[in-house]
């Protein structure tokens, strides 16, 4: 099979993706396209499959059926009739094209801030130590942590750790950045500094798919919002449309009402 790049205008093209954990269907025929430079936010009640959706995009989770393509290339499976899982080496190469930022930061505790960023640059991208270091310093500067290059994660605040997490992901120059509830584990006063970084990346044209509970941020930063419920895409549209109080989608209306009640 040929692997034509740009076969679809969407950078990320998910079609009919389904996944079950045992008897529980977490994703039901989910289709979603993200164009280059777009910021797409996924919202929805917990257990609606948002995080699983995100984790399928870089194949941290496998999916049972459907296809996920990035830049025209199928993510987890060989493009043969038998749907064979890609080799470890192939998967690693695919994952290097997507960046991911985690809710719990997941910085490598034995490496400095710069070391965290340099690991992928040297071992995956094959860059020389000095070049990797200067790229790491550039990105640490971008997230406002130039002075923390040699600090260990344990010496950083949560907000600082998450900014290093973002720098680690974007330094690899991924085609798409996946953000999985990246402010949920932060103290409220630290959320702003992290969202500011995400905002500046969006302004630079980084393609992003994010799961968040920060509705105000979703409204201001997203090109489109996807509302998921029970493993399905229940609504997709521009923020104004999705977050409108008088939406006709009942599940969305309930979700938003509950959300407003708990967040004033």
């Amino acid at each position: 099979m040929s692997e034509a790049p740009n076969a679809s205008p969407a950078l990320l093209d998910m079609r009919d993706v389904s996944k079950a954990f045992g008897a529980v269907e977490v994703l039901r025929s989910v289709s979603l396209q993200v164009k280059r430079g777009e910021v797409v936010t996924v919202i929805g009640p917990s257990g609606s499959g948002k995080t699983t959706l995100l984790r399928c995009v870089n194949f941290l989770e496998s999916y049972d059926s459907g296809s996920i393509r990035i830049d025209g290339k199928e993510v987890g499976f060989r493009e043969t009739a038998t749907r064979q899982r890609r080799s470890e080496r192939d998967l690693a190469a695919m994952r290097a094209e997507t960046g991911m930022v985690f809710q719990s930061f997941n910085l490598f505790p034995h490496l400095t801030a710069a070391g965290n960023i340099m690991l992928g640059l040297t071992k995956v991208r094959g860059k020389k130590e000095a070049e990797a270091r200067s790229i790491a310093e550039h990105w640490l500067g971008r997230v406002g942590l130039a002075h923390k290059a040699d600090s260990l994660p344990a010496e950083l605040s949560g907000g600082q750790q998450q900014r290093v997490g973002i720098a680690r992901a974007v330094a690899m120059e991924p085609k798409i950045l996946l953000l999985d509830e990246i402010t949920s584990a932060l103290d409220p006063e630290l959320v702003g500094e992290v969202l500011a970084v995400v905002r500046s990346l969006a302004d630079d044209g980084m393609t992003m798919l994010m799961v968040t509970h920060e509705m105000a941020f979703a409204r201001d930063a997203s090109s489109r919002i996807v509302f998921m419920a029970d493993g399905e895409v229940s609504a997709v549209g521009p923020p104004k449309e999705i977050l409108a109080a008088e939406t006709s989608n009942e599940r969305l209306r309930t979700f938003l009402a509950r959300f407003r009640a708990s967040h004033f």
Binding site: N58, L60, E88, R89, A92, A93, R95, A96, E97, T98, G99, M100, F102, S104, N106, L107, F108, P109, H110, L119, G120, K123, V124, L152, A154, R168, A169, M172
Partner: protein
Amino acid sequence: MLGQIIYAVPFLAQGFAVTLWVSLLVVVLSLIAGVLLGVGLVYGPAPLRWAVRIFSDTIRGIPILVLMFFVYYGLPAIGLHLPSFWAAVCALTLFKTAQVIEYLRGAVGSIPKGQSEAAMAIGLTFRQRLTYVIFPQAFRRFLPPWINGVTDAVKGSALVSLLGITDLMQAINQVIGRTYEAMPLYILGALIYFAVNYALSLASRRLERRFSFIRE
């Protein structure tokens, strides 16, 4: 008494060399086998995991002495004749390997899943994830029980004397056989074993401090 000790030293030195050689072989071979099988136990496909689990549980459930006699006296029945030295090393290595498997499983298992996922997400392969992310963090947890196991291996090597191998223990017994003075010789032997193991645990403590960069 001093005279007996001076008389004994050359015999004991030879025996001590054998003890160190057996210990070294057992420690190195079991480290290699145990780490490989331990990785198989944690990350391998189900059949491999079961096989390693059964191996580890079985071996750890058998006294080392039984294992040693089994390898030396039992295996010839199926045509496997090992010289006493290698039979002893083989039995001790099997036993130690089962322990190393468990140390590795515990150490690697203590690393949060998010570490592997973060390493995957930047595109590291399985081997790179182990080398650069998992093992450096697991090392600190692996070290204390493993050093403990090394001292056990040194002490346990005394069992090889029961297959007639002239290690430190056997050398002591031979000297006693000639001099009929058990007490000073056993004290000397105990001091030698103690000196080796005390040195090991001091080294371990220094190493642990060096690798204490990870917050609990």
